[in-house]
Structures are given as C-alpha cells and as structure tokens.
Amino acid sequence: MLPLLWTIPLWPLLGFLLNGFFGRRWGKKTSGLIGCATILVSFLMSVGALASLLSLPERRYLVAPFDWIVVGNFHVPFGFMLDPLSAVMILVVSGVGFLIHVYSVGYMSHDPDQPRYFSFLNLFVFFMLVLVLADNFLVMYIGWEGVGLCSYLLIGFWFRRPSAARAGMKAFIVNRIGDLGFSLAIFLIFWNFGTLSFIEVFERAPAVAAVSGGLITAIGLLLFMGATGKSAQIPLYVWLPDAMEGPTPVSALIHAATMVTAGVYMVARCSTLFALAPVTLAVVAIIGAATALFAASMALVQNDIKKVLAYSTISQLGYMFLALGVGAFAAGIFHLMTHAFFKALLFLGAGSVIHALSDEQDLRKMGGLKTAMPITYWTFLIAALAIAGVPPLAGFVSKDEILWQSFSSPIGHWLLWLVGTITAALTAFYMFRLVFLAFHGQSRYPSTVHPHESPGSMAKPLIALGVLSVIGGWIGWPKVLGGGSWFEHFLAPVFEGAEARLPAREATHSLGLEYGLIAVSIAVGLLGIGWAYQWYVKSPERPEHLRTRFAGLYNLLLNKYWVDEIYDAIIVRPLVGSARFLYRRFDLAVVDGTANGIAKLAQTLAATGVRTSTGRFRLGAVTFAFGCVVALGWVVYTFLRVSG
C-alpha cells in the first residue's frame, strides 16, 4: 500500500481532468459520479495507508516519484511523506471531502455548470492532499497555493455575480500576502539549512538555533504569517467571510473543514521550529486567542447564516492556534479534526436550509424549520451542541483539551484560558442564536416558499457527519475522564522534537483543578446556550431592545469593526491612487516625457537651425569665409604654440 502513497492525490487529479475535459460531454450525472468516486478511492487508499503506517515501527514513510527542481545543491524532489500527522489529515480531507462531494451531487443538481464544479472540487482535494502529504516545504507550497487557487475558483464559481468574483479575488490576494511570508521563510530555511526536506530541516534545526536563535524566530514568524493568511487569522482573516459567496458545500469543505486548517497543519508540522523559538509560540498563542474572541464577537450579530458560520470558523481556527501556541500541538490537530466534522456539518446543514428556502441566507427570513426539515434540524443541533462544547460530543473533548492546556501548559497563561473560556460562551450563544432563529419560533419566510427536507444524497452526508460529530472526539477522550488520549499518543512521534524543546510539563496541577476547569468549560457552554434561549426563544424582544440601546456597539460588530473599510482606505485606495498618479505624473510625464523631450529638443534645434539655411548665396559665402577665418585663426594659434 505505502509505495503507492503518491497515487492518493492522483485520483482526484484524474477526476479533475476527466471532468474538466469531458464533463460537459458526459453530462451532470457522470461528472458527479466521477467526482465522488475518485475521492472515495483516495479515502479508501488513505485508510489503507493508515493501516500500513501503524505497522511501521518508526511511523514514517517517504516516497518521491521524481525530482522536481534540481539546480546545483538546490534539490527538491516531488516527495511525499506519510506520518501520523499527515495520515490524520488525508483521512479528514478525503473523508469529509467525500461526504461533501456526495452532498454536492444533490445540492448542485440544478446547476448547469456541475461538471466545472466537480472538476474544481476534485482539483481542490488533489492540492489539499499534496499539501498534507508533502515531505518538503516546496511541495507543500504547491499544495498551499493550489488550494488557494481552487478556493479562488470556487468562491467565484457563480462568476456572473460581481460580489462572488470580487470575493474570490480578495481571497486569493489576501492569501498571497500570507504566502509571501511563507516563501520568505522557505528562502531563509534553504539558505540556512541547505535543504527543504522537513525531516532534515527539523534534524538540523537545533544546531542552527544554537548559532542564531533570531533566525529561527524569523522563520517561525514568517511561516506563521503564511498561516494567518490561509487560516484566516488576524490580520488576514478578512477574506473568509466574503468567501461565503461560493456554493455552500464549498464553504463546508474548503472554508471550514480543510483548506483553512492548512495553516494549523503547517504550524504543527513545523512544531520543532516553533518550539525552538519561544517568541513565535507566544505570538501564535496570542494571535490565536485574540482571533478567537474577536471573530466570535462579530459572529454574535451577523444575520447571514453563512456569515455566522464563517466567523465561527475563524474563531475556532483561533482556538487551534491557541493550542499550538501553548505547545499543545496534538490538541490543536485534534480540534482541527473534530472541527472538520461539526463545522462541515453546520455548513451542510445551513446549505440544506438555504436550498430549501430557495437560496435564502438571511436568518431574519427563516424560523420554524424544525418540523419541515427534521434531519437537517437534528444533525444541525448535534453539530451546534458539539461546537458549544457539550459533553460527550466531539467538540467538548477537543475544546476542553485546548482550554486545559492553555491554562496548564508551562508556556500557557491563565489569561489565554480566560479568553478561550469567554469565547466558548460566546460560541455557544451565537450558535444557538442561529439554531433558534432558523429552526424555532415562527416562520418568517414568504408563504410562497415551501421548505422541504433535502434529498437523500444531501441528507446522508448530514447523518454521517452527525455521527462523526458525536463519536469523533472519543478517540481523544482525556485520561482524566477515563479515556486513553489515544489520539495524542498516535501523534506523539510527530511532535517529539518539539516536545523535547519545550519546558518540561509540571505535574503540580491537581486533578481537582482539571476537573474544575472541565466543569467551567461545560458550564460556560451551557450558559451560552441558555442565554441564547433566553433572548431568542423566551423573549425575542430583548435583542431588539438592546440593539437600539447599544446601537454603536451593535453597528461596530455588524460592520465587522469596519476592518474591510480600513484596509481599503489605508492599503487599496492609496495603492491604486498612487499608481494612477505615478502613471500620469511620472511614467507618462517624466519617463516618457524625457524620451519624447529629447526628441522634441532635437526637432526644435533642427527647426531653429534649418532657418539659418536661407538659400541666400551671400550668407553661404559668409559662412564659408567664416569657416576659413576660424580655420586660419586656429592655424595661427597652433603655429604660434608649436613654434613657441
């Protein structure tokens, strides 16, 4: 199985090519079939790969089908690596990806461009698998930019909508800003490590760090800059909410479950480097925590069902970074996985709702869908409970682990824990605000719309994901609650290098403290839910009341702190404005003007000069004589000089 590791990404690529070239000819059904089948093959192969991996003692397998770039000592093979971390990732990507492909068959059934949709989606899975399977930075970078491309294509899938086209472009460009950091980090790594292979870099990292700690810090920060772009962290998160312009399954797959977690994966992958530079970890933790809280605050007031989920995603990604930042790499990846389950479910559920309401996304025009769409409702509810951290659902396990680590880790801080906990409360609140607004209460959609449960191809993935959202977390059930922390042990070999560099974990924390914190995290979750119930079910006039009372705050949140506007004002406008100015006043006026000016000068000189050529005989003769006189003058002068 393992020697064929490199074929795992190729299946979706095949799907992409088939759908891209022949999709239109073969029709919608076939294209959906190809799309799903190729991912399924990948998924099955991933499972097989995982099984084979478990039988390898050193839990790592490398294969490089061919050399990619070889220039002198710069040698980058197109290499793939399977280790526990990438195994988890390929399972999540192909597994969740498969479910979402299946869902899409139903969701996109009315769209004439379905072949294009599936080809792009397959391409995305290809790049994502390349990203997580890469055994060196550069191949990872292929996947990294490749998923960005697919994100761009899929956000702008409904290209006729100007807002979709704009959102796609924004996503790509903002990501590129992050990629700049990533590529600079790659430069630094190559010139200082002499290789881009993960294994070699991490082996040599301690030696390099011993010489130049600042270098590792720089590399870490630059890598993290890349991660903030891809994983939508402050300050580069702005593209993600807009990315909701894409079809909802795309949002589920790319902008919730997989692509946006690439940054988390990357930081985890480079945990050794980060661990060597404590500053970078602190930055990761702080940015993560700040993003978590900040995004959650914006999610509180959004009216677009997908926007709420988008901010929620940003917030949850913040959690993951928080975990990484406090050295709990396994916890971060664990949350990544569980989040993939329940967030994909939430999006798919939202998609189901949107589908049922004929593309209505405004929460204010929903309500009371519980009865009309039972499967959607119940699965959605499970997911909401999971994200709110209600035990024993998946979200509870992973989130609790993060909160505990942020408090207890030697490089953690109680403030980080506090921020995380507050965020947890907010999360529970806005999720249930959404649930209540969409599924409970009176229906507020027009009476012409008759919501209906989604077809089987859409419902079945919902159920599958619902199951995963419940049991997915159990593989990491903490020891303290009687579990085996199996997930953490599985990943341990990957993070060995990093753990060795981090301060040793103190064993002083009492069991009581841990239980206490678990209780707190459950409590805030329930608190949030109750709070939402209070406001949106029991006394729906309260939010209205508050809205008018705290209009400023409300507007601030609703308009997302005007961050887009600020970026526009301080970056985009000045850039375009100065470009226009430079073009007119410098390029055309000065640069081109100089060239044309020289030509004009010659013309002017010529025009003046040619006037002296009057055609008069006597003037010509005078010129002649003048020439003679000058020549004779020169002769006399020279002669006098020569003869002394």
């Binding site: 710069f74 550069l138 375009v576």
Partner: protein, 538 residues
Amino acid sequence: MGLLSFLIFFPALIGVLLLVWPNERQHQVRTIATAASAVQFIASLWLWFGFIPGSGFQFTESIDWITRYGIGYRVGVDGISLLLVLLTTLLTIIAVVSSFSAIQTGRKGYYASLLFLETGVIGAFVATDVFLFYVFWEAMLIPMYFLIGIWGGDRRIYATVKFVLYTMFGSLLMLVAILWTYQYSGGTSGGTFNLFDWYGLSIPATAQPWLFAAFALAFAIKVPMFPFHTWLPDAHVEAPAAGSVMLAGVLLKLGTYGFLRFAVPLFPLGFEYFADTLWVLAVVGIVYGAVMTLIQDDIKSLVAYSSVSHLGFVILGMMALNLVGASGSLLQQVNHGISTGALFLLVGMIYERRHTRKIADYGGIFAVMPVFSIAFLIVALSSIGLPGTNGFVGEFLILLGAFRTRPIPATISALAIILAAGYMLWLVRRVFFGPIVHTVNETIRDLSRRELVTLLPLVILIFWIGIYPKPFLDRIGPDLQLWLSRARPQEMIQVAPKEEPAPAAVRKIPQHSPDTTLVPRRDAVPDHDDVATAGGVG
C-alpha cells in the same frame, strides 16, 4: 551547412521566396509560411535532443568572414541559448498560424517579416562572434519595425518609430563599446571578434565600467528595464497580435540574453561597479512595473507593463550571481516568452472578435467563451507564478537566489508577487466575470480549432516546466556554472571558492559544539534520495 546555419538562413530564404511569390497566388502564402516554420521548428528539435549538457558550445560552425577585422561567421549553442532558440522557433510557428485570419492585407510581406524576424533572432542567439551578433541584433529591428508599422493599430507609426529609435540609440553606443573592446583584442593587427577570445581578454579595470555601461544600456533598453521601458507599452499596444507575441516572447529576451552572454562575462569588473545600480533598477522595475500594471485600462498595455515587472525578475536572478538565481533567470526568460506570448496571443484572439482592447468593453466573457476563458486563466496563473506552472519555478528560483545575495531587495521584489496576483486577477475579474454588460459580447464565438491548436503547445509547456523542469534545468546548469565563474570578478572567486557555499549558519557552528553531529560536515547537502530510501526501507 550546419544545423544552426540552416536554422538561421532557411526562414530568410523562404521570406525572400514569399516576397517574390506571385500576387495572384497569395492564398498559398500562409501555407508556405506555416510549412516553413514547421520545418524550422522540427529542425530545431534536433538541438534539444542532440544537445549534451555541460559540453559548452555545440553545433558550432566557424567560417572566416571578414578576416581583415578578425570577424568570422561563428555560431554555436550552449545551455544559455538553447532554450531561447527553441522558444523562438516555437513562437514563430505559433505566430504564423495565429495570424491566419487576423492578417488580411499584405500577407506576403507580413509572413516574410515574421520569417525574417526569426532569422534575426536565432542568429543573434547563436552568434558567438560579437560582430555577427551585432549584425543580427540590428537587422532584426527591420522586420519588427514593419510588423508594427504596417499591420499595427492606430498609433502604429509613433509606436514603431519610438521602438526603433530607442533600440538604435542604445545599440549604437554598444557598437562603440564593441569596437573599443575590439581594440583590446588587438585591433586591426590580429584582433578578433571571436567571443571566446574576448572572454579571455584582460580589459583594464578603468575601462570596464564604461564598456559595461554601453553594453548594459543597449540591453537595458531592449529588456526593457526601468526607466527605459516606455517604448514597450506603445509598441505592444500597437503591434499586431503575432508581433506582440514575438516582441514579448523573444525580442525582449535578447536584452536579458545580452546581459548573460556579453555584458556581464566580458566586463565583470564593470558589472561589479554597476551592481548596486542594477539591483536598484531591477527592484524598482519589478515593483514599479507591477504598480503601473494595476491601473492600465487597455489589456495589451497591461500585459506590456507586466512584462516590465517580469523582466525585472529576470535581471534580479542574474544579479544574484549564484546558480539558483541564474538558472531561475534563464528559465524565467523562457517562461516569460511562453506565458506572455500566450497572453498576447489570447488578447489578439479576443481583439479579432471585438476589435477593442479596452477592459471596460468586456465583462462576463466566461459565460460565452468558456474555453477561451479557461485558457486565459491558465496563462494568467502561470504569469503570476502559481506553483505547478512554469512561472513559479522561475520566479521562485530567482527570488531564492536573490535572497541569498541581498535579502532586502529580494523581499521587496517578492511584494510584486502579491501585486501580480492583484493586477492579473483584477483583469480576469473585469473581463471574464460578472454579468455581461455589453450586449455585443453575448454572441462572441469561442475559440476555433486552429486557435486552440496554437495555444495548446504553450499550455503544455506551462505545465511541463511547472511540474517537471528538470530537462530544462539540466541543460542550462553547466553553462550557467561556467558563466558564474566569468561573471564574478576574480577576487570574489578567491573568497568564495565553491558554488553555493554551505549554509551560512551551519558554517558558523563552532567545531566543539555538541550539536554539530546533527549537521552534515560536507559542503554539499545530502541527497534527498538517501533519506527517501532510508525511510522506505525502514
């Protein structure tokens, strides 16, 4: 007659034939031109397969020409020129085929000009005699001048005269420098224009900056480097599509090629003297070009300005003076030829349908021309250096190399990658996405089979170089290594004896450090294969 001579003179011969072809049989002109350029391309493939990397100049021919001045007809290809020659033959056939429907008047002259242009360009690429190079360098102006001036747009005369004047101004100063250098080789008493002999000249350090400046000016205008770039947008905007393809695809490469082949290795001290200036100009060109590109409202002008930025990268890679940067620089020349050539081709196709180049006249084209749009998107992505496409390999190597030498300029240049995404995707968005605002656009037909065929080789190359650039890099590597040894002034070579010295930080590790065991002691980095097999076996 050798292969290279065939490649040089065959197109010219056919060009002459076309010129005297009877008017009443004009319809055969396209066929002849296509056949000729196809023969030419197939013949050039022999270069690719017969080329032995690392054995210096190959396919050489040397015939005495003007013995009195030590001038010979000396040609040969090495890794530096090989790819560019192939690019030329490929783009010529594409340019010919792409003009079938666009050019309706004066076909004889048009196709003859294209073929003459091919002669000039290939001649300049393979000449190993400086005089011969100069002859081709100048001679190729003429067909380009006609291509723009006769078959161009509204302001074609302004554009073409500007193009010629700019180029002539620079190249005449270069002529003086060539003659001057010739004096160092012995002048009329036993002097020579043989490039190989020139490489061995010891030109006084006081003269080198002047000579370099004269050469560099000519090449910088051709590239064009900031601030000599303003002829380019005009020329491109006015040129017919195939003219733009050739101009961007190969003519501009002559500037960068000139740096690699002549200016730098002949006058390494002069190069060193102007290194700071060139760095600054390259970086400014990259960023400035990208910023200018942002706000162009004419598609061709936009692509033209993007060329300024891209060619700045090529210069940057050369300035890095290490193998990585130089390889990237050379590869990027080819890439730019492919990508920008394809862009101009695509713009030409859409111009043929709508007769406008204004971005504002389009919008929502994706709905009516999906194939065209996807082709454009692929090329645009290659142009902005998306991994998996050729542009990435080139740009990455350039930046990687430049970063080694001077990190700050490289970082600033890397900013242009963001801007590149900005201008290209903005263009794509405005042209292809959104609703169709102009009803005329609703009935544009998609690409014809012929147009697809012209694009296909370029698209294949985009992915081939992007995914498996090894055959290309292998062919250029050894000669660039040699180039580096010439380009670096003597003292630098003494200080840094080995190419790609071991990573800085690693080298600084003290011997007694316990960590050194983790670090391989040899300069060369361990082969990846070791690791892979180790992992595979275990």
